[in-house]
């Protein structure tokens, strides 16, 4: 529980130093109550002898001896794992509910979007249009594309899961870089790739593209000046926690970095630092898709002037691990 290998490390020692500071006062009051004759229970956190945080539950009851002196009987147990499982279940239920809602709303939003897109296309083709009206329609079309983009990002979460297939990761990333080729060239951004071209993963291409297009776009948007640099690394990997096989993709940039004040909230929905161009949904969506597939995302960032940059590392587990190939030829 506390990670002691030798009984002498704990026998006769006070538990208070192990209790996390925010829970110490509550623990003290709980003990006092029991010593005054009340029984009860309490949940609190400890940090064990080796620095591991555990979630504990204690039940305490007063025992009276013949002299009516109250003794404290306490039974504590480690509930870390059951709390974790409970939280995972709550999260998956929440995700399922969001998915159902998104699917329903998607249908209601995307049909009128389709109609308006078509009608604007028809209106723009009218040869009798004045130049001003045409400009208005072109602008309306651009604005509509923004709506469609938000709808795709938010409501597309459960989309395109139709035909998961075995994807070549390096090829998929290259295709995405092709899509953003114009933006990269326009801003003179250099992309350096170190991609194992043999790594494949069984995934829905739509979800895969959504995750990495968001990360690549963020890297592009992080460039405050032209001639920035982006590094992309793709390699077969194992999850260090449970040994699952999959692919690890790192997308790093030397852009402006993420300030420490923003870091705790970057995966929140509708949180953006890109005032004019951000929806605040990209990283939220990335995290949700990865959670759905039991993947992981890790971010490191520095916003110091002259040394700034961000690196996102994604681990995408392979659901059909028999056919992932590790390792293979390096492509660049």
């Amino acid at each position: 529980m506390v990670g002691a290998t030798d009984p002498d490390a704990v026998i006769g020692k006070s538990i208070y130093p192990l209790i996390t500071p925010e829970h110490r006062e509550r623990f003290r009051r709980f003990n006092e109550n029991v010593c005054h004759g009340y029984k009860g229970s309490l949940e609190f956190d400890i940090v064990g002898l080796h620095g591991t945080r555990r979630h504990m539950e204690i039940h305490g009851a007063p025992l009276r001896d013949r002299d009516d002196t109250i003794l404290h009987l306490g039974v504590a147990r480690d509930v870390t794992e059951s709390k974790r499982a409970e939280e995972a279940l709550r999260r998956s239920e929440k995700l399922a509910a969001v998915g159902r809602l998104a699917a329903t709303v998607a249908h209601e939003i995307n049909n009128p979007l389709e109609s308006v897109t078509n009608l604007l296309y028809l209106a723009k083709k009218d040869p009798s249009l004045g130049i001003d009206t045409l400009q208005h329609l072109l602008l309306a079309d651009q604005e509509l594309e923004r709506v469609a983009q938000v709808a795709r990002q938010t409501l597309g979460f459960y989309r395109d899961t139709t035909n998961p297939s075995r994807l070549n990761v390096a090829k998929a990333v290259d295709e995405l870089l092709g899509v953003y080729g114009y933006r990269l060239r326009n801003r003179e951004i250099t992309v350096t790739k170190a991609m194992d071209s043999s790594v494949t993963v069984f995934a829905s291409s739509g979800e895969f593209r959504q995750v990495f297009s968001n990360l690549i776009l963020n890297a592009i948007d992080a460039m405050t000046a032209n001639r920035g640099k982006i590094w992309i690394k793709v390699r077969g990997a194992h999850d260090w926690r449970d040994g699952r096989r999959g692919v690890r993709v790192t997308i790093a940039d030397n852009g402006c970095g993420i300030g420490p004040e923003h870091m705790p909230r970057i995966f929140d929905s509708f949180y953006t630092t890109k005032q004019d161009i951000g929806t605040g949904l990209g990283l939220w969506l990335v995290r949700n898709i990865l959670q759905k597939h039991h993947g992981r995302i890790h971010v490191r960032s520095r916003s110091n002037r002259g040394k700034s940059g961000t690196a996102f590392t994604v681990f995408w587990p392979d659901s059909n691990e028999a056919s992932i190939s590790l390792p293979g030829a390096k492509a660049s």
Binding site: S115, T117, L122, Y158, N163
Partner: protein, 130 residues
């Protein structure tokens, strides 16, 4: 002279179907709209369209079932499915029966749709689905 390809558009949203018919006609295709799967099957049996553009989620006979039946009735008809939401269950069911479809997600840009139509009608004359 060879007549323009005939395209059957099926969508239970009349504005979607109607505007698509107009776009297709403006590009020189012959086009007609139906608003449900059953009417689409009857129309296809009668007119043998070169291409079917069909919404997936519709009341009654859904788009995948309609497309499957039309493919049996008119083997030369190519198919484009489009949908406003994921239809994973329906697609899996069709796939289990040997019909594999991919779906364009709404809103589909008309230029993208016209590109897909051209590819199916001109470059891959015997392809049956995109």
């Amino acid at each position: 002279m060879k007549s323009a390809p005939f395209i059957l558009v099926v969508d239970d949203e009349p504005v979607v179907a109607g505007s698509l018919v107009q776009i297709l006609e403006s590009e020189g295709y012959r086009a007609a709209a139906e608003s449900d799967g059953l009417s689409a099957i009857q129309r296809a049996e009668q007119d043998h369209p070169d291409l079917l553009i069909c919404d997936v989620i519709m009341p009654g006979v859904d788009g995948i079932e309609a497309a499957r039946r039309i493919m049996k009735l008119c083997p030369r008809t190519r198919t484009i499915l489009f949908s406003g939401r994921s239809a994973a269950g329906l697609l899996q069911h069709a796939s289990d029966k040997g019909f594999r479809f991919d779906v364009m997600m709404k809103p589909v840009k008309p230029a993208d749709l016209l590109g897909a139509i051209r590819r199916l009608l001109e470059i891959e004359p015997y392809a049956r689905a995109v």
